[in-house]
Amino acid sequence: MATKFVIEGLKAEIEGKEILKGINLEMNGGEIHAIMGPNGTGKSTLASALMGHPKYEVTEGSATLNGEDVLEMGVDERALAGLFLAMQYPSEIAGVTNSDFLRSAINARRGEGNEISLIKFIRQMESSMKGLEMNPEFAHRYLNEGFSGGEKKRNEILQMMMLDPKVVILDEIDSGLDIDALRIVANGVNEMKNEDRGFLIITHYQRLLNYITPDFVHVMMQGRIVKSGGPELAARLEQDGYDWIKEELGITDETVGQEQEA
């Protein structure tokens, strides 16, 4: 079945403060959507609300993946349904090795009695790590513990590659990456591109989009998507910044919660 992910009227709050004020977005398998926007406009909140972070409360709207509302599901069920979020700030978990963690995640998908053989898993992990030019020792390191910013991002992509999700959300996967790593990570994403998989890429910079060409570009301000377009929109933002959009829409402060009350 071709993947279809539809977000409708999504509103979410954190600690009683409304951050997302009605997000609408439709994404099909094979498409790459970029979300851009100034700091503090709700991009990570959108990603977290979709994944089900316990701090965010969805107050309205739906997010359906092939007809099923993921917002009704637990975090693990969302992942099993095919959602994947590469986080802006991945957690560090001491004492749990990267490989034990990944094997648990893969086995959670495969279900009891159908666990992946150790040999097969190691082979799969080694080949994915090789593709990302990760030192093999990272398999045995504790999950993200003491990883550099760029190493954490690469490790997020490693997980994406091994978990084979349908909807991939990348939250600033390019931040903290050096020039070579940016290319490697972008290659990883491009290799994963297929008709069944959609990508939602949150980024501040055109440079990532030089490698991964988006089909659609959306701009977020004040907890809403305020403008959508094609790849040319990202190019314009790179050149001119956000002021022209703010002018066009009459926004003085783009961050959430700063808009004038009526």
Binding site: M51, G52, H53, P54, G74, V75, D76, R78, A79, L80, F84, L85, M87, P90, S91, I93, A94, G95, V96, D100, F101, S104, A105, A108, R109, Y142, Q159, L163
Partner: protein, 433 residues
Amino acid sequence: MTLQTILPVQAAQIKEWAEARGEAAWLTERRLQALELAASLELPKPEKTKLDRWDLSAYGAFKSVAKTASREELPAATKEFIEEGTHNLIVQHNSGVVYTELSEELRAKGVIFTDLETAAREHEVLVKKHLGTAVKTSEHQVSALHYAAWTGGVFLYVPKNVELEVPLQAVFLTDDASATFAPHILVVADANSRVTYVDNYVSTGLDGKVLHNGVVEVIALDGAKVQYATVHQFGKEVTDLSYRRALLSNDADIEWIVGEMNDGDTIADTATSLNGNGTHSDAKIIAIGSGTQKLNFTTRAVHFGKSSESDMFTRAVMREEAQSIINGITKIEHGATKANGQQTEKVLMLSPAARGDANPILLIDEDDVMAGHAASVGKVNPEQVYYLMSRGISKTDAERLIIYGFLAPIIAEIPLELLRTRLQRIVERKLGQ
């Protein structure tokens, strides 16, 4: 009027039992003196724990046991801990040691590995010299009663310059509630020797209460290196009082690795006296509390020697209604210049009804030293649970991974592979999985 303490063991019994064992007179004499002392001593006073409210009476009576030469005949509960290729093994079943094995190779090197009762007969000079030097009879009523009533036990002697690669192992089983269960372990590592010793404490099928009043003494002479790993996993019928103490001469080294996995109430005190210069002590403890257990774990390092170093590291997980007090005591005496004592206690709380008190205590009587402590009591981090769940891992499995991760750095240090995998299973059981 003086208040007469009523002791759980009587002199007449001590004499009768000693006779039944054919014990040397000097040892019986020491037992009787210890018993007399016990009447005038007070109970130990572990931080924030009122031992006088505990039932510490279940000493039982000495019952002689039949020795066996065959491993097959050992109780099943002990067999599962015995590493396949082990040829250096002691098994105690209730009041006495039932099985002793020492490889020809080690025997030829002059290693002694036998039950302490036999050692007191056959190696009187050595035993007399060291028994009771690390944990003193006079410390408190519990230690005095131990020296009056101990049975079975282990004596391990490693001669000068002998370095042993393979770990020596012992297993202690209590399954008869009417039998005394109070082993004494005495390890003497002579100058520049090196040894690893591993033991397990287990109980099965008890139909009444048992008090385990156990003492471990490690004497590491100049330049000796001792690694001591122990796992306690008594059922809830057993109250465990365990005092472990190492004495280090110049340049000696002890590493304690302790798994506190009992289901019953426990007082465990693991201490090192860094007497010599250039000594080093390392203690790693993991503990899991469950049910309504009352637990008091102390690690202690006392520095006398110059440039002596100690590290203490405790990680404890408390679930259900377990109540635990976790103490780390670093004491640096005057004159122990350039000493360095570090300690960390971390407690993970899995239930609001559980209690975990971490008390780091630094007592320092010398200026030219380094010392540090860190203590934390916390819950499973919800951000971490979210992260793992976002990869499809269930909440239960996510928490399990995090809890294991919390204990993993210590489990990884266990020197026997079988014990390591066993411990993993014990941890699972203790965590209710």
